[in-house]
Amino acid sequence: MECRIIGCGNAARGDDAAGLLVARRLREWGVDTLEHSGEGLALMESWRGHDAVIVIDAVVTGGTPGAVTVWDGRKAPVIQDRRRNSTHAFGVAEAVELARVLGRLPPRLSIYGIEGRRFDLGSAPSPEVSAAAERLAQRLFRY
């Protein structure tokens, strides 16, 4: 099965790099992955034409740092209180919801969120998130 794996984030912002860490690890093992800033419209383009897509991003849900949550992008909205999230940026969640409205969701879409705790400019990813990224990479590699 052809599956597009996209890791989103900003490498200069601590745990925001979570998705990139997973994508890089998988690439070291020979899996074709894409590193992405998470800018929503470009993200929609990057999954175009793919039947199955996995997006990995850092999340803040108030949970334990390093915890991984999986959403079926085809089913429930990723964000519930969209008003709160949409003030300016157009990110992963917005991309999924806009694609849903425009009928541009891939047939299969899984979103893996790694709970982050620090996002300061110039900080390294936290040990919890680094470990979680490694475990998730192994899990996706087997998959």
Binding site: G38, T61, R84, L102
Partner: protein, 431 residues
């Protein structure tokens, strides 16, 4: 109403908790306090650049912003070229203009269609707008994609492009490759004209301010990479004099610095400033579109910046078309020079306004000091000043509406808070 104290508070303006927020305190219809925290200056990158080779600065600073990496590259490259005394080939200059067109198209299409238009059409966001205005959203998406295509073609990668180098490019494209963009750009020009028409029909609050507009100005061109820095109050300087005229002040309520014109105060950079100071250097098609849209310089209503951005989309498409038609590859992709000690400053026009870089190099070409002043840093104080005036106009409104309007007033500036982080902030019920 009078005598009652209310607070307009927007906590989620930024993506980073505790970093970005807006608080406006009202006493009756009087604004007693405005505190805006939206942008953290790139001090980390300035420190990170120390000791690095001059050739690394463009790629490192490109990481500051996911939306406008080319602006960071261009300011870094031009500053290095000035420090090293490198003159670039005219064909390279042309290619860099095309590169910048790509970024403007991407950035302006994103802001006009996805972030700003929903305010005027009465939707909380582009997703809900798309349900009723599908064709509009599709048009915005296609425009943005064309911008991406240009950037990808010249940058190698869409996000954080890597092919621009000190002295030129690591690799320059063949003529035929650029000609392939022609059809897309013809469509984009038409779509941009339609964009001007669309947004000119929006309703704008009656709000004008007496701004000091600051932008680059070039004798023949609408500015991207080159020109004097001029203002509507008579400033006319070289990039090397920037720090003599502009100062950054620490603000108590924020990590941010407020930029001011020395001895005067806040100023405005970005589309309104460029348009007002360079109107006669827009291509005829863009000038006509502005005229039809009822825009004539000086535009002093910041809410109309959406129309000016659309006019700049027309400019960027027309300019990109000119480049792909005129381009002849340079004899060499880049000019080189021996390292030497020196200082170089450069200003280029990022989609949001001027972006200043200064580097001091040692005799081996290693960076001694770096200074970066992004456009949002420069607009931050001006946004607060706008809000102080604007909040008074909406003070009597229901709180939710007033808050939304104040958010719109911030969005007029297309502030670069989206580059902070892109993590998902979600409310979920765990199983």
């Amino acid at each position: 109403m009078s005598g009652r104290t209310r607070t307009i508070r927007v906590e989620t303006l930024a993506r980073v908790e505790g970093e970005g927020a807006l608080t406006i305190k009202l006493h009756g219809d009087r604004v007693t306090d405005v505190k805006l925290r939206i942008f953290e200056p790139p001090r980390f990158f300035e420190a990170f650049l120390k000791g690095r080779h001059y050739s690394e600065a463009a790629d490192i600073t490109a990481r500051i912003c996911g939306i406008c990496p080319i602006a960071y590259q261009m300011s870094a490259l031009h500053a290095m070229e000035r420090a090293l005394g490198i003159r670039i080939d005219p064909a390279v200059r042309l290619l860099r203009r095309l590169f910048y067109c790509g970024e403007w198209i991407e950035s302006h299409a994103l802001h006009v269609y996805m972030l700003h238009a929903p305010d005027f059409l009465g939707y909380p966001d582009a997703i809900q707008m798309a349900r009723d205005h599908r064709a509009v959203v599709e048009q915005g998406l296609r425009l943005k994609k064309i911008g991406n295509r240009i950037v990808r073609l010249l940058g190698g990668r869409e996000i954080h492009p890597v092919s621009a180098a000190v002295g030129g490019f690591y690799k320059t494209p063949a003529k035929s490759v650029l000609r392939e963009l022609e059809e897309d750009l013809q469509w984009a020009t038409e779509a941009s004209l339609a964009t001007v028409k669309l947004v000119a029909g929006f309703e704008f609050p009656d709000f004008e301010q007496d701004y000091e507009f600051v932008a680059l100005a070039h004798p023949e061109e609408y500015p991207f990479n080159e020109g004097r820095l001029v203002s509507s109050r008579g400033l006319n300087i070289d990039a090397a004099e920037y720090e003599d005229h502009f100062v950054e002040q620490h603000v108590k309520h924020s990590h941010a610095l407020h930029s001011v014109v020395r001895g005067r105060g806040s100023y405005l950079v970005g589309p309104l400033a460029r348009f007002n100071l360079n109107f006669d250097r827009l291509p005829a098609l863009a000038r006509e579109a502005a005229h039809t849209a009822g825009l004539a310089p000086p535009v002093k209503n910041p809410f109309r910046s959406i129309v000016v951005r659309a006019v700049e989309l027309v400019f960027a498409c027309v300019e990109a078309l000119r480049v792909v038609r005129e381009y002849e590859p340079p004899a060499a992709p880049r000019a080189t020079a021996a390292p030497r000690s020196g200082v170089g400053q450069a200003i280029t026009e990022a989609p949001r306004g001027i972006l200043y870089h200064r580097y001091a190099l040692d005799e081996n070409g290693l960076i001694l000091t770096a200074k970066i002043v992004p456009p949002t840093s420069q607009n931050q104080k001006r946004i607060e000043d706008d809000l102080r005036e604007f909040a008074a106009q909406v003070a009597a409104w229901p709180l939710e509406e007033a808050t939304w309007k104040c958010e719109q007033a911030i969005r007029n500036y297309d502030p670069c808070i989206s580059c902070a982080t892109h993590f998902l902030r979600v409310n979920v019920e765990r199983e």
